[in-house]
């Protein structure tokens, strides 16, 4: 190889420019090897230049290569026939490879003759003293790419005998490069500690890297996409000065989940169709709520009204409020937090947020699970109104990269006014609902003991929906639960919601 490379360089030095086929003939090696040597010289830098030219040409088939190496079938057969006495046909047919073709060709060339009446069966004799193996010669020329010396008939014959076929070959036109040299230094693949220690790296040449190849995957763990999005939302709330609520409480009383929110006891959401009730523990005690009269105030506002409201006019039952459920929204925790806020001697304006699991006993499909994550934000301060609610929602969604918003009047049992939040979806070309919001009703806040001029504005959305849109997931079971494909988890990009 090294000899071949220096031979090539010497040849180029002499001739300035040449083709790879020329080198082939000159060095008497196969074209493939010349190309290999050229590539290895090219890897050293701009020592030479090589322009590829694609041409079509004849190339040897496997059989053709065998003939080029060992002689044509007829020549082989001729050689197997002893001069003079000849040999029995049956023996030749057995011992000589490709004897059948060789026999008929040799017979046609009148190199041999067949005596059918010889004793012991048909016998073959030489008819000429010696033969010139033209076929083999032609094939050797094909291998050396000197096609010019072949006649059209010869080409046709070789093709017909399936000894050659049309192929495409890339021939290189080679010339001296700007850094032409006759001596090639050995290339190093890796920079080693030893090279650094000895300082030898300064004199070595290094093999070029193949930057098109893929790197080796690092062996690492991955975070779940939904929780990456959760982290991003938490970050946004923290940037906006919100304080996180303690939502680690899946089991909640109906009281805090519904009654405290002024949601009447016959409300459809309290049906077994929508809510998971429990058998163990089936009901809880509301001692603390009872102790300071809060329970009684809630009962009063439901059944008879108060605080400027006419109430729902029904028979409110404590037993219904005691029923344990899996919380249907994190607003149950918000209610607890607002109640605590009201118990402080002096009201402090507050911003709260939470992102946690909630449970709905609904029918399930590709986008609905019995459990999902609710994102919720609320602000409690004096004299907050709809304009503030819309303002803070706009700020929040801007941070998510969502700019076109509009608001639709809606109904929610515990907020009034209530608004659904719509954003314009460029992909779908229409307005889609992205969240819900409202001002908490006085019937919810005043029984807690919050000052009358304090309003609480709040909004909520699901964590799953933005995540599914972000990661292009159509079935929620591909995102949550044991059927998740971990490959999806590992290839998911980092979450930048504003991008």
């Amino acid at each position: 190889m090294e000899d071949l490379r220096s031979n090539i360089l010497a040849y180029i030095d002499k001739h300035e420019t040449c083709s790879s086929t020329e080198l082939c003939k000159e060095m008497n090696v196969e074209h493939q090897k010349i190309v290999g040597a050229l590539n290895s010289i090219l890897a050293f830098g701009e020592i030479i230049s090589a322009q590829p030219e694609v041409t079509s040409r004849l190339e040897l088939t496997d059989e053709g290569r065998q003939v080029a190496d060992h002689g044509s079938h007829e020549a082989v057969l001729f050689a197997s026939v002893p001069a003079g006495d000849g040999a029995p046909q049956s023996e030749l047919m057995k011992s000589v490879p490709n004897a059948k073709i060789g026999f008929s060709k040799a017979l046609a060339n009148r190199w041999i003759r067949l005596d059918k009446s010889a004793q012991g069966g048909p016998r073959v004799y030489r008819q000429v003293e010696s033969v010139s193996d033209r076929i083999r010669h032609c094939l050797q020329m094909v291998a050396a790419l000197s096609l010019d010396s072949l006649t059209a008939e010869e080409r046709a014959e070789l093709k017909k005998r399936k000894l050659v076929q049309e192929g495409r070959v890339t021939v290189y036109r080679v010339a001296k490069g700007p850094a032409f040299t006759l001596t090639l230094a050995k290339e190093e693949t890796e920079l080693t500690a030893e090279m650094l220690a000895t300082g030898v790296w300064q004199t070595l040449t290094f093999k070029a890297y193949n930057f098109k190849a893929l790197g080796q995957q690092p062996d690492c763990g991955h975070l779940h996409p939904l929780l990456k999005v959760r982290a991003e939302f938490r970050q946004i709330f923290l940037e906006m000065g919100f304080q996180e609520m303690p939502t680690n409480r899946y089991v909640e009383s109906s009281f805090w989940n519904f009654d405290a929110l002024f949601q009447p006891q016959q409300h459809p959401a309290r049906d077994a169709h929508d809510t998971f009730f429990l058998t163990e523990p089936a009901a809880c005690r509301l001692d603390a709520e009872q102790a300071d009269g809060y329970l009684a105030r809630v009962k009063a506002v439901h059944s008879n009204g108060g605080y400027g409201s006419i109430g729902y006019n029904y028979d409110w039952k404590e037993s219904e409020a005691q029923k344990n459920i899996l919380r249907t929204h994190t607003t149950a925790v918000s209610a607890r937090m607002l109640y605590q806020l009201a118990q402080q001697p002096q009201f402090q304006p507050t911003k709260y947020f939470s992102i946690d699991r909630v449970f709905r006993n609904e029918s399930l499909d590709a986008t609905h699970l019995a459990e999902f994550h609710q994102i919720e934000g609320l602000v409690a301060d004096y004299n907050l109104n709809l304009c503030h609610l819309m303002g803070i929602i706009r700020e929040f969604f801007h941070k998510l990269g969502i700019r076109r918003l509009r608001f639709k009047p809606a109904y929610n049992p515990y907020t009034e006014p209530s608004m659904e939040i719509f954003s314009y979806h460029e992909g779908l070309g229409k307005w889609v609902e992205i969240g819900n919001s409202g001002v908490f009703r006085p019937e919810m806040l005043l029984p807690m003991g919050l000052p009358e001029s304090v309003s609480v504005i709040a909004w909520g959305l699901s964590l799953e929906r933005p995540t599914m849109i972000k990661y292009g997931i159509n079935n929620i079971r591909d995102l949550i639960g044991p059927k998740v494909d971990l490959k999806m988890v590992s290839v998911g990009p980092i979450c930048r919601l504003d991008k």
């Binding site: 763990g221 000065g241 029918s363 109104n385 503030h388 006014p417 971990l486």
Partner: protein, 718 residues
């Protein structure tokens, strides 16, 4: 109507039959397959090659099977799929004597089909069921005096008013969607191509539940009409009387009544009248449990009326659309097979007495809340409609009655006028219905202005009054500082001045309000536990483990049998009304979820290193009757060898990043059935156990169909 109901019932039972048979076949095939798998895995060395085969066998249903179970042929026909699912899920409910197993199959089949058709994303957060009203485009255009209304403009108007234009369709399209194009084509000219809008209305606006109410509200909103003034009048000849017998107190103590005189129905308004009753029954009446409405042709009856409760065998009458008389006992039997009535039977079934309303001649008007009598049924030609509504909640009954008469009194010869009926209670109390009460609410103007963020000059009192009137809330300035708002009997949703404020904001237009940021200054703060959790998640992921996210609800088997633990020993929270087996309990351990995740990812290159940090739930040990969440960290290593040293190393690493000194943390050998004998330890922190670690027991692995060894730990973060 009668024939189509019968058709539905026949179709229904056939569908159940097929689904049942198919599910049984499927169960048989599944058990065969499972047996085959067990054989295979025991005879092979348990390498990777045979795992994918096992996976497909265990992952459950093929699409074809799923379609057979739900008996659907066309995946495009989503409404049929949903309908079949709802139906089959309902009939297999355990409470109705169905089988949990079959229900689970139905669920799985739906899941499989959903997976195939990859439904569009819908926000699951606040998916409240909103009632839908259908209104013909032509009718809407006519009342809004706009011939050239485009669908976009209607959509826009609905949006501003707080309605949602759900669908633009026609009679033909709706039938084609439900029963296929062929059927729709077959019906030919019997179906109309007139454009119909399906409009969702807010759940508390019962006055918008019919075309009459909806179009009137929009007309007033567009200043095309004044809010009507509804009146209840007492006829000179004396009111009709309804006497309430003491026996009703046992079952359904209240009744309210009204009379619509000289009414003329058109086919459209007649249908709307029936529809509104149905919608009220489904919403505020809570499936007739709170209130049940009966409407009668008064000219077939003679007052006074009697509302009483009798033993079922004493009630005999010819019910609506039947040809002979039945006793109440027979009726309960008859209707137990009728899909649209059987849901109401439990409301009275077990009571010793059933409610019944009769006229002076003993003619049965109705047996609420089940069925009316045939004798007094209303027709297109009925002129005088007697309405009764029986209830367990007097207030709601009055609201329902008001809603019904307000919407339909416009068809009376004397518009918006209703004839009152007197109800006499056993205690001597007499009430006159409908109440049609107008309520005055005085509201501070300042409150309204602040609520929408506008100053005196930006929002004058006159403008406030005008805008409120457009919402059917007639308002008058009573001083510079107050307005008096009259809440009409159609607006029972108005409870508090904040409801008036919302209507003002709607009338101004939410999107015309000027946004501003709240002035509230606070500092951000995280929950320490969540902050720690997020940091731990990062550390564990840095250590090469991948995070799972699994369900907080699972089956009893998942946390007990499959972990080789007795169920009684677990402080599990149990769910009373799970729709499928997967929601029986709240998880007490993260392990089952992670092992299931391992199972469905067995084809990935080994080893699998998974973790999860989430809450598990324990029943409280005290008498508070509550439950607590506990933050747990669990990790699993699954590979050719148990990899215990790696799991142990991760545990060490976690203790290291938590800053636990080496001498405060150690492992001490123990036996937990989940883990392999002699390969399990308690994690002790300052001498008390905070978790368990070990090589999983081969039978635990088998429970999750895992064929390679695994190690795990669970650890209490708190």
């Amino acid at each position: 109507v009668g024939r189509s109901i019968i058709e539905i019932i026949l179709l229904g039972s056939r569908v159940v039959g097929r689904a049942f048979a198919a599910a049984l076949r499927e169960e048989y095939a599944a058990s065969q397959q499972a047996a085959k798998n067990r054989q295979q895995s025991s005879s092979s060395s348990g390498g990777d090659s045979d795992q994918s085969g096992t996976a497909s066998a265990i992952s459950g249903l093929s699409l074809k099977e799923a379609m057979q179970i739900l008996h659907v042929e066309n995946l495009e026909d989503k409404s049929r799929i949903q309908h079949q699912y709802d139906h089959l899920f309902g009939v297999n409910d355990r409470k109705k004597g169905g089988s949990f197993y079959l229900q689970a199959k139905v669920f799985r089949a739906k899941e499989r089909i959903d997976q195939e058709i990859g439904q569009q994303t819908v926000d699951p957060t606040y998916s409240q069921r909103m009632p839908v009203v259908q209104i013909e485009k032509a009718a809407l255009c006519q009342c809004l005096n706009r011939k050239d209304f485009t669908d976009e403009e209607v959509d826009e108007l609905c949006f501003e008013f707080g309605l949602e234009l759900d669908e633009v369709t026609s009679e033909r399209e709706m039938l084609a969607k439900e029963q296929g194009d062929a059927k729709a084509a077959q019906m030919g000219d019997q179906l109309s191509d007139a454009v119909i809008y399906k409009i969702e209305v807010p759940a508390n606006r019962y006055d918008l539940l019919c075309v009459e109410g909806l179009s009137r509200a929009l007309m007033v909103f567009q200043s095309l009409a004044q809010p009507p003034l509804y009146k209840a009048v007492q006829p000179a000849a004396g009111m009709q009387q309804m006497r309430v017998a003491p026996s009703t107190a046992q079952i359904r103590p209240y009744v309210v009544c009204a009379m619509l005189r000289n009414l003329s129905f058109t086919p459209a308004s007649y249908k709307s009248f029936i529809d509104l009753q149905d919608k009220l029954h489904q919403t505020i009446c809570r499936q007739r449990s709170l209130v049940a409405i009966g409407t009668h042709d008064f000219d077939t009856l003679t007052g006074p009326f009697l509302y009483e409760a009798l033993p079922p065998s004493d009630i005999v009458f010819k019910p609506l659309n039947q040809t002979k008389e039945f006793s109440a006992v027979e009726l309960m039997q008859l209707y137990s097979g009728e899909s649209h009535l059987k849901a109401y039977l439990p409301i009275i079934r077990d009571s010793p007495v059933y409610p019944v309303i009769k006229d002076a001649n003993g003619v049965v008007l109705s047996m609420p809340p089940i069925i009316n009598g045939d004798h007094s049924k209303i027709t297109l030609n009925t002129k005088n409609v007697f309405i009764e509504a029986t209830a367990t909640d007097a207030h709601k009954a009055s609201v329902v009655l008001d809603t019904l008469v307000c919407a339909f009194s416009q068809y009376c010869s004397e518009q918006f006028t209703v004839e009152a009926v007197q109800v006499n209670y056993p205690d001597g109390r007499a009430s006159i219905y409908p109440s049609l009460a107008y309520r005055q609410v005085d509201i501070q103007v300042d409150y309204l202005r602040k609520g929408v963020g506008r100053s005196d000059s930006q929002l004058t009192i006159d403008e406030i009054c005008n805008r409120l009137t457009r919402m059917c809330l007639v308002a008058k300035a009573t001083s510079d500082a107050t307005v008096s708002v009259t809440v009409p009997p159609t607006r029972h949703d108005v409870l508090h001045p904040c409801d008036v404020l919302e209507d003002l904001a709607i009338a101004i237009g939410y999107n015309n309000l000027e946004m501003s940021l709240p002035p509230t200054l606070c500092t951000g703060k995280q929950q320490p536990l969540n902050s720690l959790t997020d940091k731990l998640r990062l550390e564990v992921a840095f250590a090469g483990f991948t995070e799972c996210l699994t369900f907080a609800l699972c089956s009893e088997k998942d946390i007990s049998e499959r972990l080789r633990l007795p169920l009684d020993s677990l402080p599990a929270v149990r769910i009373a009304n799970p729709k499928t087996l997967e929601f029986q309990v709240a998880r007490t351990s993260l392990l089952p979820g992670i092992l299931k995740t391992v199972h469905s990812n067995r084809s990935l290159p080994l080893p699998l290193k998974l973790f999860e940090i989430q809450d598990v739930v324990y029943k409280s040990t005290d008498s508070s009757g509550s439950a607590v969440n506990s933050r747990q960290l669990a990790a699993v290593y699954y590979g050719k060898s148990s990899g215990f040293e790696l799991i142990h190393g991760l545990m060490d690493r976690i203790m290291q990043v938590l800053g636990v000194p080496v001498d405060q943390y150690k492992l001490s050998a123990t036996e937990v059935a989940t883990y392999f004998t002699g390969r399990c330890a308690n994690v002790l922190y300052k001498g008390s156990p905070v978790g368990t670690i070990g090589v999983l027991h081969p039978e635990t692995l088998a429970q999750f169909d895992l064929t390679l060894p695994a190690s795990a730990f669970v650890f209490d973060v708190e």
